[in-house]
Subunit: 229 residues, 4 copies
């Protein structure tokens, strides 16, 4: 059983300047403060080189953005699950739209993540791909229609049928999988809409990282979750 | 002009268990101790997630094993030059045999590394590829014939002509480029042979990381360099 | 509904010298002769550059080995579904162990193949990956454990449980999908074993292409199928 | 020594509908007719699946758009040099902007192409990459700034300095290499400008394939070459 409290907000830092290095640590402290204040589980996903410093600075769950389908050995330049785990990561994103993976590698990484006692979050682009991913038994599947990423057009309001279909298909294959959605989420009402469609939270990036006041937006998201419960 | 003292020993930690997490820090302290004692420049190249902790622990130059050909922005799961620089890295390996890159991406990464004031080390597989790489004006080119990597058969003794040809071709295209060689280097005499062939040092991995006593081998390498000068 | 007679033997020519150019045409004529004589459906999968000449020479179904996830336009060097269709192909292999694809691209190619009225054969490496692939609704799924490919150790005799599990999981997700298995198939009894495990045929390569007498082996395979019916 | 008459016009068919299947054959016949009439060497580069039918229909040189860095064997779905050679190809494009390759693979493919007695055309994105490519000793290097591809803004008129620099750097490394340029070429005067900058012809795609009257444009290009000689 997955060791991660839901509903959940996962903040993907991507490779944004606003969330690299010291700024990654600062934003993570903000996320932690909002999480403590609101009681809502907020997780952050910084770049590989920032995981250790973020984990040193905060107690909220930290995710890697990607790990490679490798075992320890001769894989110069690749990201080893064990390296992000030892740096303090709780889990990892897998197959993000910006780092898509081969089907077989997704299967291998999900299996390795499970063996390591870590949380796997497989990102998917549509309902059919989500159903396929569910067969691989990850902890979490997050639907992110690529055409909406970074647009500010919320998936939960512009594509509600796609989200509902994803939730239904995933649950049919594997009722244990937690579903999230993402892309274009910038307001509390987008988060509320996501929960109404049957998901257990959101995967968000620019909506927080590039917000003028990330603390305020995270608080708005958290309140939307608290009210929905 | 490159800001890195030569001759140099660069130790690539790959994704070896023996050099991940706390073990990466410990091995880096050993490398630093030998460097201080011998006066020879020893650099280490840990995994992305270990760069920050290694840089916190030691003062010797630290290299990334790879950076992606990206600028800050939406590149989830990729390795941003700025992230490893802020974590403390002095430079980066580029195009290692285990993480080969497109020609155009090598050019882009070398250029970004230069702009960032960092040291670029392009790895190559033979003399023709080295000559091509030299046209891209990296700081260092390291020849590593892939068939010798991890074998313990030293490039500097089993393929001296390939090393000499590489040094000659690289110097012809660009006399400013420092040349190294690697693969199969396990003894001081392999390092001495590398210098005799005209290189300014070695790129080594298992020869140090998997040695019973890495300190002893690093000291042997350093003495070979001191004697050769 | 898929327009392909089962049980079926699909012969993958890979990039073998023995099945390139004129030899691809010759082997296809042999396959056609055995198919006509035995009444068993035998299909061939030559290289892209050989599809047109093979289709000109024989009337049995011809498959591409791969198509890229692209639409007509600016994709120099990629393989367009329309190009292999116009050359005469009936369908295509997708995600072969030697040409693995991203999950999202498999979904896109299966959908394009369906729209084009062509037959999709998704290759998979284990039962979990097969179950995932079934959600994408291809016509055929062929299990080929990569560790057995080219070994002569038949999947149907050495890994019967893996084949049975694959058939069960695929049928559970989508009962319309035809299942095949492959890897190490060299004898009639390997084919008979595959059918007994619930598959509708085999995907074979070196077992036919590199056989001293491909006609004889194809006949043996066909008889095993006829007897099993 | 390269067995290809220069100046030369190479028409890349990409994966355009207008140049797939029967339309590829028709356009190739047009190119042949113009070549015969004008005396200018015009070559065509159709998709892999169209090479055989194009080579059956015309006598002008035919190029593959890409071949993979493989030898005959187990490489399902890849494009084998021998397969396009036997289908009738005279040479191959390598590293087109839409099918970029690893540095080491470019080196391997150029070497294989040379051994097979075929013509290698390495595409490059800027002058530094062209200089690097020249060290690999291909027959032809064609500069195509990616930002101009398909725009109708001719490289030879909008970036004359980049073309001149490319020609100079390539000649310096290897005076035997023939240089071409491409991107945005749609008029005879663009071709004339390319020759004036020191190249020996053009690599063109949409300018011909998507022209209302490809015959007329090809004739205009050919006349520009004849006048320049």
């Amino acid at each position: 059983m997955m060791n991660l409290k839901v509903p959940v907000i996962i903040v993907n830092y991507k490779t944004y300047s606003e969330a690299t290095g010291k700024k990654a640590v600062k934003l993570s402290k903000t996320a932690e403060a909002v999480s403590l204040e609101s009681g809502v589980n907020i997780c952050v996903a910084p770049q590989a080189a920032d995981i250790a410093s973020v984990c040193d600075a905060v107690s909220i769950p930290v995710f890697a953005q990607h790990v490679d389908p490798i075992v320890p050995g001769s894989s110069t330049g690749h990201i080893l699950l064990e390296s992000v785990k030892e740096a303090g990561a709780t889990g990892t994103l897998i197959n993000h739209a910006e780092k898509q993976l081969k089907l077989r590698d997704i299967e291998a990484i999900v299996a390795r993540t499970r063996e390591a006692g870590m949380v796997s979050v497989v990102c998917t682009s549509n309902a059919a791909v989500s159903e396929a991913a569910a067969a691989l038994k990850p902890d979490i599947i997050s639907l992110e229609p690529p055409e909406l990423i970074g647009t500010g057009i919320p998936v939960s309001k512009s594509k509600p049928d796609a989200v509902t279909e994803m939730v239904t298909l995933v649950k049919h294959v594997n009722p244990c999988v937690v579903t999230l959605c993402g892309a274009g989420i910038t307001k509390g009402e987008d988060v509320a809409a996501a929960l109404k469609l049957g998901t257990m939270g959101v995967l968000v990036a620019s909506g927080i990282v590039k917000a003028k006041d990330p603390r305020k937006v995270l608080m708005e998201f958290s309140e939307a979750i608290t009210e929905a419960l």
